[in-house]
Symmetry: C2
Subunit: 642 residues, 2 copies
Amino acid sequence: MKHTVEFQPDNITVTVEEGENLLSVAAAAGVYIHAYCGGDGVCGKCRIKVDQGEVYADRASLKQEEWDQGLRLACQAAVKSDLKITVPEKLSDGRKALKRKPKTTRTIAARSLEALTGTWDIDPPVTKLFLELKPPTIEDNISDMQRVMRGFKQARPGESDPSYDHPELIRELPAVLRESDWRVTLLLLHGRGENEPVRIIDVEPGDTTARLYGLAVDIGTTTCSGVLIDLNTGKVIAEASGYNAQIRYGEDVISRIIYAGRAGGLRALQDRVISTINGIIEDICRSVIISPADISYIMAAGNTVMSHLLLGLDPKYIREAPYVPSVSLFPLTKAAGLGIHAHPSVRLFLYPCISSYVGGDIVSGVHACQMAKSEKITLFIDIGTNGEIVVGNRDWMVCTACSAGPAFEGGGIKYGMRASHGAIENFHIHPETYDPMIITIGRIKPSGICGSGLISIVSELLEAKVIDQQGKFNRSLDHPRIREGADGWEYVLAWGQDSLLGEDIVITEVDLDNLLRAKGAMYAGYQTILSSVGLGFNDLDRVILAGNFGAFIDLERAICIGLLPDIDRDRFYYLGNASMLGCQISLTDVKRFRERVQVRQLITNMELSENPEFMTFYMASLFLPHTDMSLFPSVQGKLERE
Amino acid sequence: MKHTVEFQPDNITVTVEEGENLLSVAAAAGVYIHAYCGGDGVCGKCRIKVDQGEVYADRASLKQEEWDQGLRLACQAAVKSDLKITVPEKLSDGRKALKRKPKTTRTIAARSLEALTGTWDIDPPVTKLFLELKPPTIEDNISDMQRVMRGFKQARPGESDPSYDHPELIRELPAVLRESDWRVTLLLLHGRGENEPVRIIDVEPGDTTARLYGLAVDIGTTTCSGVLIDLNTGKVIAEASGYNAQIRYGEDVISRIIYAGRAGGLRALQDRVISTINGIIEDICRSVIISPADISYIMAAGNTVMSHLLLGLDPKYIREAPYVPSVSLFPLTKAAGLGIHAHPSVRLFLYPCISSYVGGDIVSGVHACQMAKSEKITLFIDIGTNGEIVVGNRDWMVCTACSAGPAFEGGGIKYGMRASHGAIENFHIHPETYDPMIITIGRIKPSGICGSGLISIVSELLEAKVIDQQGKFNRSLDHPRIREGADGWEYVLAWGQDSLLGEDIVITEVDLDNLLRAKGAMYAGYQTILSSVGLGFNDLDRVILAGNFGAFIDLERAICIGLLPDIDRDRFYYLGNASMLGCQISLTDVKRFRERVQVRQLITNMELSENPEFMTFYMASLFLPHTDMSLFPSVQGKLERE
């Protein structure tokens, strides 16, 4: 149920879901409230007054008289009805300052692309067919397999002869047929191409048509996720995820490649990712009480290195110039053959890769959003250590990857961390007092900064002129939070007492440098790839942000620091885990599945690693937002307003 | 080089090859010469006089004066030039009798079907393609596999994209490409159907196109044979064979099926036949000094039980009514996966079966002789323990199998043996003295009777009226060789001193009974299957004898005892090991290979086991040659002549 929340004295009204946390609502609305402890309820700074309506709240550290006056801690209060809220004058003494903040600093997420993924049918690439066969007689004693084939043809007249698995299927067939009294269910694998015949991959006793499940798997370098779909209804019925157990051998793909080169390394890495997938299957099957043997198809996507490791292929040449993968179009594999806990006949489809650094996860994502079917020129972005960029439409596509470094995933940032509990995910700074408003994931005391937090912090520091466009702190500001630390100048996001670590959490100039390089690489990537096809940012009809990160990015702030191009905000969309989405769509609708071929065939790869134009663009991007401010007119206005 | 040999006083002249043994020439020409020891040179009875021309000969047991008179032992003499031979009067005192023997009693083999198998091209279903690939650069860094595919497409423009083996091939590919400096040879498997794309099954370093071999394997219940073909020339370059090592578990398919039902039995049987094939591969590879890994395709054929056992499929239901095999169309299998010593990617093709008792050996044979392409109505026969019969032409075919019993393979015959050294393979009886002329395989002292010998013996005994048409000995003949033995009446083929066993070798009435049943089942089979399609023997344009046995059958004698129908002798053809021939043709010419599908699709199976008409025909066949003598006009004439 939706409610309106009106904040005074800023006079900002937003509509939110019942139960939303008021501190988060304020942060998203651009309403500054002091908040030091990330939302943990301990610093007691985020007092607000409920003038009208009701909130779900505990008294927490408030005194009874404060409670009776209608004061609440924003971080401990959730929306229960339409509300009128006052942020008390003594705290909100930056009323003037707040007013100066343009409303556009509100957290604006890109729009979901749901409408553009289109709908899909329940017409999965694996189906079941129940047959009641006539038992053999002396006049009709064709082989068991021929009898099954004849049953198939009678049930599906006009279809071409199916092929069938061997030898597992045939070995068991005589017993299955006789024990089930000739009533069996065929598990049919439909061709990946339209003209390929159906393949019988299992014959099960009795009528098992009600049990038909598919598993979509996203194999990330860090995290692997699985989604179980009931292929009779198309509904997601279970999900699970876990860290990729390869992590012990290195955080990123390069360290995994290096480890694969050691004796036994490749095998160890393959075993790890397979045990990770098995763990996911186990969790999922336990949660909905099905057997892993009831999973009838597995569709997976991962980057090129993850795909190679899953199949036990040496990724060695991916790392060495000229960066050549062993294979880009992965053959359909028997999952059980890889060691995955699945029915022996069940196939694992792995989305094809384009190049060493544009993998199946990107192909799956591009496939999911139907770029290859639209005339609109689209920029598809997956921001990460390796940022992948695809641009094009149904007529042509170019892709590339740029090494942005791990800043957005917490790497190279002093207090950087992954987007997990305790990570600062949203940040506002009071434009006059320079005090922070910190929101953490899980609303506990902060323990570090994740990617979206980093973007918030840098853009807020920039707009407040705590840092300049080169990412250097304003040495002239005299404020306890702005200081010279062990690693040079820094801003204290949380004092030790308000942090989970018990020590001050800061952002340093070294961190800012790393962020500059990361966002600079991405932006230079967009420029290079667009330039290669003679286009500019204004030619883009759409920008699609893939990856979970994309869903959490505050557009204005990402544009403000130069991570995203400064174009009409309405052109931005986010897809969430696009890679997983592609797998889910393919699992559910074989027609959509078959369209993946167009995607792969359309995309041309471009290498940036030795591209001189890229280097030029990159150098010009090492500025907030950019040395060429004409590329960022809206940011220019914002920064000049002061 | 050919020479003429004139036998006097019979005045019979034949044309033979230089080096042929004179005793064999005489036997084949229907010239009776006393010969008790099978051709071993020890009985000294087969004296002949060389009147003109030269023979290769040793003096052996002849006295110098006999030698000087031009006497020679026929069994120790070989044709060197045109010859005039006199069979000395004192030995050939049956001059009158011999004259009475019609010339048609000469051994007449059926004609070879060579002309009818047609020619075939050297266009094998597996080929090699040498590629010199451009090494990758940063501008051209597609995956290794894509590079191979591109190389293929450049070499074979217009062909559809090949598929490729996984994961063996891809795993090794990066190393193979780089170590061979991007010069590699693709091993290509062509589709079994015309529309199937080519499949890359191996990538070998360097140019290996000169090494391309295929192995044809005939998997017999008793004997397995292999033929190695150089697929670049189409030439057979090596052959080997050996007993099927399953023999220790039983002589015939039924005992093998029973053994397969024991714990571990199926596995043991599979292991045995595979070790037999491995032994053949080893022998062949050693003889021509190639590696088993250079064999690029294996085409095999065997009866339904042998095929099941090779693939590890339980043949249980083959034996039980209604006699259902697990599968009749065997999927292409990786030979190495079965344990065969072959390159890991090499496929084993197994000819499809029709029914439980009409197997891939028959389909291969029918395929070899192109019955399915001819308008001529053909009766295809494979005589053995399980006699298989196919009748039809390019428009229709019906097949059946009848359980003839093992008589033709030496089973159920007191001195029966397989067609190996020492087996009596040819026999004549002196129509007045009842003395035998015995020729053994290898021309050593006799140790038993093989199938072709049995046919000779029975037909000669019948014509000489030593036995009657019911297979009973003429009790009124007073002759030391015709006597009552332990098993009833018998004829002594060889006295102990002339036999390898040191004991008398005889043929008994029990043996004759077994032969009657065996030939009766075959003949009743022909009648039943012809009757089912409304045809009679006179409608047959051709009779094809498959199996090695067929090549050794003396047509006149086989007709005389009622094993073959009494029709124009010119309509008979023999194919030798037709099953092997089909495999050889398929290995060499993919177009012919693909035609096998028509064969299988045309043939309809018919079961005789509970067929009342078959039983009626069978009862009427238990007579020499048949109770209905109008079916055997030529035999009737012969038997009445006396």
